[in-house]
């Protein structure tokens, strides 16, 4: 079957890429952050592949087909956009300028603290946030393999885990970034062909637009039946997930110079937004040939790839979905491992050698992937709430501590430790009671944000500030917030203007196509 070839080629390409870049990985810093050698275009590639995940090609396509194109776009607009800029520009860039190599190291520098409770708490919360997110990607990738190759889910998940572990173990962040960049090329190809291919497959623009209209698929909420309050809750959840997302923030640490962060992320945003809009509008048009509700929304990508889209689009979509799962999973596993290794190297084994740091990271990444893989053998209840749970945990602990640490000198490490440690059990309590009994309605993040920020402020005021905390804040202001010349080039202005033109053209083209004018 031709779709199988798409997956095989992608996975073989990822293995070959990881083998090819292994020669660049000599130190732990190479393994963790590419030795800060990432050019702006690599940053573009890795950031794009990080944002474009299974939720784009599987969940998003299914949602747009089932409810209409706007609900998922609304979700995307209200949360991903500013979460992105907060993670990359406000948090990641400052960490990059401070010269730290991980999120845990940032806390060490910012609070002048080496306590094992802080590193253990951070390790727990990083694992808590990323574990559930990683579970979705590993199981999603497994479901694609299961569907296309007609194999049992445990076997499919095992194959996924083995390949991710092998490539990550081989070359660390180098593997992550270069495979991400390869995947981004696939995403760009899809952005170019998805709309014309869909229009052709459904019998023309008018047929596609009329189908969305006939199923009441327009407006912000489409035929979802959800109220705007739900979208506000999701917006807050995903602001915290993306804004405080360790694997996104880590990306900012790999660049060769600070300017590459803004340059690479502006291009990445342009690619991602154009791709997302075109995919979701196209997926909405599938209503013309596949009646909404006739199958599980998560199956629609695979079904349309076989029965609706031309074979080349099907191969690209399934290959890209596999890439998206793969490239999101590998960096999340790496980020969890970094958090655990930081606990060892700072709090328990301060004389850890560079080689040992690299080996520990590799081994722990593999263990994390195996543990998540076992959980992913069965589709279970946990998977349904996994994304929301990650958002609630992040909004209770990691996200507010990161934000307040940037702007509020009085924030104390004792307050941070308490909120970080509480975030996982309290987050689990909120999401479980919300699902079982409707507590914390309409969505737990409406409560977890004020609890997170409020708790930190009150606890900080009740605890004594240390000298290390004051000095860490001063260092952050002196180095992290210091500005430097960006050395503008003609290419920068071409990119800026080009980005505006692309997004503006897409905007007016789509408004014209859907009949606004």
């Amino acid at each position: 079957m031709h779709l199988a070839w798409g997956i095989v080629l992608v996975l073989v390409a990822f293995i070959l890429i990881s083998i090819a870049v292994k020669k660049y990985v000599k130190t732990a810093e190479d393994y963790w952050i590419m030795g800060r050698k990432a050019k702006w275009w690599m940053f573009t590639g890795t950031l794009t592949a990080s944002y474009v995940s299974l939720s784009t090609f599987i969940g998003g396509v299914g949602s747009a087909w089932n409810w209409g194109p706007m609900p998922f776009l609304l979700f995307y607009t209200s949360s991903f956009t500013f979460g992105w800029i907060i993670a990359v520009t406000l948090i990641g860039l400052r960490m990059r300028k401070l010269g730290v190599t991980s999120i845990s190291e940032y806390y060490k520098v910012r609070f002048g603290n080496n306590g094992k409770w802080m590193f253990a708490g951070l390790g727990l919360t990083l694992a808590g946030i990323l574990y559930f997110y990683l579970l979705v990607q590993i199981q999603g990738g497994g479901l694609i393999l299961q569907t296309i190759f007609d194999i049992p889910l445990p076997l499919a998940v095992t194959i996924m885990v083995i390949i991710v572990a092998f490539t990550l173990g081989l070359s660390g962040m180098w593997s992550v970034v270069i495979t991400d960049t390869f995947a981004t090329v696939l995403f760009i190809l899809i952005a170019i062909i998805i709309l014309p291919a869909t229009i052709s497959a459904v019998g023309g623009v008018d047929a596609g637009i009329a189908a969305i209209s006939s199923f009441d698929g327009w407006s912000a909420t489409g035929s979802s039946g959800l109220g705007m309050a739900s979208f506000v809750g999701y917006a807050l959840a995903w602001l915290a997930i993306v804004g405080g997302s360790p694997h996104i923030i880590n990306r900012s640490l790999i660049v060769d110079k600070p300017k590459s962060v803004l340059k690479g992320s502006f291009i990445s945003y342009t690619i991602t937004v154009v791709l997302s809009i075109l995919i979701f509008i196209s997926a909405g048009m599938l209503m013309a040939v596949i009646e909404p509700g006739s199958m599980h929304p998560d199956s629609i990508s695979a079904y349309a790839s076989v029965h609706v889209w031309p074979w080349i689009v099907g191969v690209l979509i399934i290959g890209a979905a596999m890439s998206a799962a793969f490239t999101t999973a590998n960096t999340q596993a790496l980020s969890i491992a970094q958090g655990i290794v930081d606990l060892f190297r700072y709090a328990l084994k301060p004389d850890m050698s560079d080689d040992a740091k690299k080996k520990y990271t590799t081994v722990i990444s593999v263990i994390v992937l195996i543990l998540v893989g076992v959980m992913a053998f069965r589709q279970n209840y946990l998977l349904i709430i996994a994304g929301s749970l990650a958002g609630i945990i992040a909004s209770l602990g990691l996200f507010p501590t990161l934000i307040l640490s940037l702007y509020w000198e009085r924030l104390t490490i004792k307050a941070v430790n308490i909120m970080i440690w509480l975030s996982v059990p309290v987050g689990a309590f909120m999401i479980i009671t919300n699902n079982l009994w409707g507590w914390f309605a309409p969505f737990p993040t409406v409560y977890s944000f004020p609890i997170g920020f409020g708790g930190l402020i009150i606890l900080s005021l009740l605890t004594k500030q240390t000298k290390g905390e004051k000095e860490g804040y001063k260092l952050l202001k002196d180095k992290g917030f210091a500005t430097e010349e960006a050395a503008p080039e003609k290419q920068d202005y071409v990119i800026l203007i080009g980005g505006f033109i692309v997004v503006t053209v897409v905007y007016f083209m789509l408004l014209s196509m859907i009949g606004i004018f």
């Binding site: 706007m70 406000l90 300017k259 500005t483």
Partner: protein, 77 residues
């Protein structure tokens, strides 16, 4: 330029201008956007004002992102 070992070259005082643009942008754009969708009705059986607003949000955010990039080029990063 004299770059330190992190590849950075601090030459100016600390600046919060990026932060101000991002947080003001978040308050105005995201909450204005959600409020306008909540209070302005739009048809479900044909494309209407909600589609214009949602797609315009992407355009607006591109300009905010572009503004940050432009500020970095002009004022330093």
């Amino acid at each position: 330029m004299n770059q330190d070992k992190n590849g950075t070259n601090p030459t100016k005082k600390s600046s919060h201008i990026f932060d101000i643009v991002v947080w003001v942008g978040w308050v105005v754009l995201v909450w204005g956007f959600l409020a306008s969708l909540a209070f302005i009705a739009s048809p479900k059986d044909s494309a209407g004002i909600h589609e214009v607003i949602i797609l315009a949000y992407f355009l607006g955010f591109t300009f905010i992102f572009g503004l940050l990039y432009y500020m970095a080029l002009k004022r330093g990063i």
